[in-house]
Symmetry: C2
Subunit: 409 residues, 2 copies
């Protein structure tokens, strides 16, 4: 039998994969599992997008241009202008989800053996995309005690070697929900410029900013226009994760024309989903207003509820729909498994994603978990209650000193 | 400005890319361009697939399972059984087009620097997919004089080094239309088994076999069950190229679980297109009967017409909807450009794909072109007439001895 490739062997598995059989067993045992482990929102896709598909009058589902429909790229340019990002259609490449944008971007910018710095905890699939390109991730740790703010620029500086070719950020962040300020990003720009690095910014949660906070795009940072790559997706914005439509955006023409060669090899992004995505550009502001209001309520129920539990600490995020919480337990891997396998409260239990899978540094995040607040409010109330009761009886509970510093964030 | 990666630089451009501006200029000049250069059929997508999209009652376009909808994978297993390929749903991974299936397959099986043998001329995008995986293509030349039959096994044997890890075939073939016989494939199986290679077979044109010929799948070759990977796609079968739904199929469980890790990183194949693809499994046989009849007529008009032109030679393909023809010209790159730039017949001209882009060996195919017969019959008649007239006046015309051997195929 022929052997599997080295890359195939080192390709990481999903951090929650190990828990899936326990969740299935819990369901089988009649428990209601509250799934807080994945970023699949329950919010309805805008009607205008669904209608475009239903009313489609094409007789042949043809390839689109490899860079996406021209009309959609023009529409996207208008959308970006409307959110303060001044880009032309020619600077936009439509991709099969944000995932493909990252893969094409990494393949275009990095050689095998190159290093990219990523603040951890980070979206676990970055491990897979860098593995495809043969790139090594150098993590710089963001601290839960600081609410996962951007690590000090000196911390980045220390990690730069002659192999360092880029920095990757997610803003607002998955898994932390942290929203970088303009000042933090300007600090980052200095180091990008100084070492002539690529700066990838995954801004797919742009619309999900709370408490009046405004997102600041890396596309507006001065002096690094040729270094900056914006990664985007319709998945979260319009609650159409299954569409698989994203975008790679850069003012670096050589980069766009290189990424286009990868795009030509795979022929075209999905046509049906582009029809839906183009129509979604007409989503009324009221849709977003309602969605944001809903997420703020959900966040408050979840995060405030968690922080009221003795020994739990959860920074309150200003963006996205995730948070990372610290639990007074021996290990969240064990705790999450125990919740599914051994526990229920009024027939319900909770599935969370242990945070260790979001850290590249071994040993970090082992008492943390990522929680997505993508369920309705009543389910989130139940989840908080469930966790409160669980922590009263979990055998691996440990006592954690609750510091004033932690509580003050 | 940071540098583009080596892979990005070596990523090949589409072989017809250079001609596109000339086609656009021809259109602008008021000529009708008959596009025979691409494999985008004009055949209608089955109504049952379009209806499934129009009647969709989902409120949220959610991710599917990373391996595809369970119901679709089960339906696909039934479809494969119906065409004589006995596979289970667990042996099928739904991908974003056949392109992604090839990328995941190559990344899972091959290390950078490994070699794969591919009969040339071959589908030009294999260059891109092997480039992504860092794999080197070793071409083995199929001869137009032999109708592009499988090269002798001794020719393969000579090319095998300690770096050779696989063989890739396309059957029926793009660009040649050649359909490998069971006997040819059994010869291939011997060398695959002897050297324990992976055998990738791109069988996306399975339904397009003519003159009573039946396709034989590599999945039915004995003794190499763990070596064989079937690449499939709905693009051509149901004329829905823009759906971007394909499949990677293998009985090698380790390979499927490895490819699944790549699939998990990109989350899910497109949901809307999977709905259409699953419905397309119910396409009535009458649809295929009509399509095949249409393609046979088109092929006969085109290939018989070409062979009637003095100095032109085109083997008659038994599958797919392409042929490669030899022209009495100095260079088909020049001829194809001249057709667009300098020529028209009754206001019409033809766009073809110069065949040199389908050969890996430099210098081969320079008097050949790939022609896709994806236009209606009257347009193909016009195209043949146009080529006949063009060859009377093309300044780069050369005299080619028309050998009996060539004419006898």
């Amino acid at each position: 039998m022929p052997t599997i490739s080295a890359k195939g062997q080192s390709m990481p598995e999903s951090p929650i994969r190990k828990l899936v059989p326990y969740a299935e067993a819990a369901e089988k045992a009649g428990k209601k599992v509250l799934y807080l482990n994945i970023g699949q929102p329950d919010i309805a896709t805008p009607q205008v997008a669904l209608d475009a598909i239903k009313n489609m009058d094409r007789k042949v589902i043809e390839y689109s241009h490899s860079a996406g429909f021209a009309s959609y790229r023009n529409g996207l340019a208008d959308y970006y202008k409307s959110v303060g990002i001044d880009v032309e259609a020619s600077e936009i490449l439509v991709t099969t989800g944000g995932s493909e944008a990252l893969i094409f971007g990494f393949l275009s910018c990095f050689n095998p053996g190159d290093e990219v710095i990523i603040p951890e905890p980070f979206y676990a699939n970055y491990n897979g995309f860098t593995n495809i390109a043969g790139v090594k991730i150098t993590p710089v740790t963001a601290k839960i005690e600081k609410g996962f703010a951007l690590p000090d620029i000196e911390d980045f500086e220390k990690l730069i070697t002659d192999k360092t070719k880029g920095i990757v950020i997610c803003n607002p962040g998955n898994p932390t929900g942290y929203l970088y300020s303009k000042e933090e990003l300007e600090e980052l720009a200095k180091i990008v410029q100084k070492h002539d690095l690529y700066l990838f910014a995954d801004e797919v949660y742009r619309e999900f900013c709370y408490d009046g906070a405004k997102p600041y795009s890396v596309m507006n940072l001065k002096g690094i226009e040729q270094n900056t790559i914006l990664i985007d997706s319709v998945s979260k914005r319009y609650s159409m994760c299954g569409a698989r439509v994203g975008a790679l955006i850069s003012r670096n023409k050589e980069l766009i024309s290189t990424a286009l060669k990868f795009a030509q090899a795979r022929l075209s992004p999905p046509t049906l989903a582009q029809i839906a995505s183009e129509a979604a550009l007409k989503t009324p502001q009221s849709y977003f207003d309602e969605v944001i209001e809903e997420y703020v309520d959900r966040r408050d129920i979840l995060v405030d509820g968690l922080n009221e539990i003795e020994g739990v600490f959860c920074p309150k995020p200003k963006g996205a729909f995730y948070c990372v919480a610290k639990f007074p337990v021996d290990s969240t891997e064990k705790f999450c498994q125990w919740l599914l396998e051994e526990f229920d409260y009024n027939g319900k239990t909770v599935m969370m994603a242990p945070a260790s899978g979001f850290y590249a540094t071994k040993g970090l995040g082992k008492d943390e978990a990522r929680i997505a607040y993508v369920l309705e409010k009543s389910a989130l109330k139940d989840a908080v209650e469930c966790l409160r009761e669980a922590l009263k009886v979990y055998p691996g509970r440990v006592e954690v000193p609750s510091t004033a510093a932690e509580r003050s964030i």
